[in-house]
């Protein structure tokens, strides 16, 4: 009697299993066909930093060249934060901001220490380069390139 019960129980479990797979068969796929499409990047994602444009004057960034980020960077990845004072403006305008992404650990201290919130993380998740110098970004030039693209 126990054998018969076992057989019936086993057969029932097989049918349940087949139900699970056939439901999966007719459900939509969950994979992302990567080179053709990409998933949305999480807002918390950290790539290299980028300079934020000044909403009042799109020609310049928010950066006032105070040098806080350069001084606070634990890996000394930020170099040559330089700028000049343009005529008729109260604040300095950044002309150079070199970020050495090879030593940057995306800790975010520069973003936090910036008094004018001029820095934020970009979502550039697949930077490529053939030599080390390709990852020494000039964030001012990068900002201008972005501005032109818009």
């Amino acid at each position: 009697m126990r054998v018969v019960a076992d057989i019936i129980k086993g057969a029932y479990s097989l049918i349940v299993g087949m139900g699970v797979t056939i439901r999966a068969f007719f459900s939509p796929v969950v994979t992302c066909q990567y080179p053709r499409e990409t998933v949305n990047i999480s807002p918390r994602f950290r790539s290299h930093t980028k300079l934020v444009g000044d909403p009042e004057n799109p020609d310049r960034t928010k950066c006032i060249v105070c040098g806080m980020c350069e001084r606070n960077c634990p890996s000394h990845s930020i170099k040559k934060v330089e700028g000049e004072k343009k005529e008729g403006e109260k604040k300095k305008t950044a002309t150079s901001y070199i970020l050495d992404f090879t030593t940057c650990s995306q800790c975010g201290i520069c973003v936090e220490s910036c008094p004018v919130d001029a820095l934020e993380f970009s979502d550039d998740y697949n930077p490529v380069g053939l030599k080390r110098e390709d990852f020494h970004y000039d964030l001012v030039k990068e900002y201008e390139k972005r501005k032109k693209a818009v």
Binding site: V3, L14, G17, M18, T21, A24, F25, V29, V30, T31
Partner: protein, 327 residues
């Protein structure tokens, strides 16, 4: 042109020409079926795992199998040292003989059959035993522990499952009163035999999954324990012959199940051959579905299931059917 053809037919005889044309057709069906099934298997696997499966080569990845076969054709035929050369070379060829022979007697339609032999099912069962022989030869000749274990398992499994296979077919043969596959298909004009013989159908289907070495009974080629089982040492075209034979065997067991239990080519409106292929591929889909649902059984479970459950039940079924027919 026409005269020459008629002359040739007169010289060699109509029967020979008919057989040759039939064999060419069988080759086309075998290759087309294997190419379609490899693609279908990967698609089914993909969708059951909620992926897409092959999609890059051709529309919906349909040309994927062609790309794979070109790759296999282009590969070097490696022969490992220390193999038993005659056996090693013979096995992939031998596995293809039963595949071609069994196709000869399968009725695709009332008129579409290469040759109607009045012991058709015996031919199929006798030749399908050759598959085991070639697996044994290949495993023995490879001089590899995994191949040998795979081959030994395959023999034990096939001996165990050939008995319920035959015992499940016998009640149908009793009811149709013939060994010829066409007669059996014709006998189901009123109702399919699966209505009278549901247990026999179930037993046959389970045993045929074991016969084709498919999951959950794929112990001869269990990849997690035996690398690839009996075809571990085979590469290139020799490997793809084993592969081709596996997919063709799936088609054959489904075709036999359709002919014996699901009315063969019988069906309304559509021509018989279309019905035959629809039913057969539905069963093949169930085989693929099995593979991506069930885990592999243990070896003692496999043999116990056959000797302790399938064989007694199919014997009982045969006795009851015989008794009822006698009354």
């Amino acid at each position: 042109m026409c005269d020459t053809i008629i002359n040739i037919v007169n010289i060699v005889g109509k029967e020979v020409v008919r057989t040759v044309i039939g064999l060419v057709g069988v080759f086309i069906v075998v290759l087309g079926n294997a190419i379609m099934l490899t693609w279908t298997e990967r698609k089914v696997a993909g969708h059951i795992q909620r992926r897409i499966g092959p999609k890059e080569v051709g529309p919906f990845g349909l040309l994927q199998s062609f790309a794979d076969s070109v790759k296999l054709l282009g590969k070097e035929l490696l022969t490992p040292a220390n193999v038993e050369k005659p056996l090693y070379f013979l096995a992939p060829t031998l596995i293809f003989v039963p595949v071609l022979v069994t196709f000869v007697v399968i009725p695709f339609d009332g008129f579409l059959q290469v040759k109607d032999i009045n012991t058709g099912i015996l031919v199929i069962l006798a030749f399908s035993s050759l598959t085991v022989l070639s697996i044994l030869i290949g495993g023995w000749g490879s001089d590899n522990k995994y191949s040998l274990i795979g081959a030994v398992r395959s023999v034990a499994q096939n001996i165990a499952y050939e008995i319920p296979l035959l015992l499940a077919l016998l009640p149908v043969i009793l009811m149709a009163n013939s060994f010829s596959l066409r007669d059996i298909a014709e006998a189901q004009r009123g109702a399919w035999f699966v209505v009278y013989q549901p247990i026999a159908f179930l037993i046959f289907f389970v045993a045929s999954v074991a016969e084709t070495n498919r999951t959950p009974f794929d112990l001869p080629e269990a990849e997690s324990e035996l690398v690839a089982g009996f075809h571990t040492e085979y590469s290139g075209m020799r490997f793809s012959l084993f592969f081709l034979a596996e997919y063709t065997n799936m088609f054959i067991v489904s075709a036999i199940a359709v002919t014996f239990f699901l009315g063969g080519y019988q069906g309304p409106i559509l021509p018989g051959v279309v019905w035959f292929f629809i039913k057969t591929y539905l069963l093949v889909f169930v085989l693929l579905w099995f593979r991506w649902t069930f885990p592999r059984v243990r070896f003692d479970q496999l043999l116990n299931f056959s000797w302790k459950i399938l064989i007694p039940v199919s014997f009982l079924n045969l006795l009851v059917t015989g008794g009822i027919l006698k009354l």
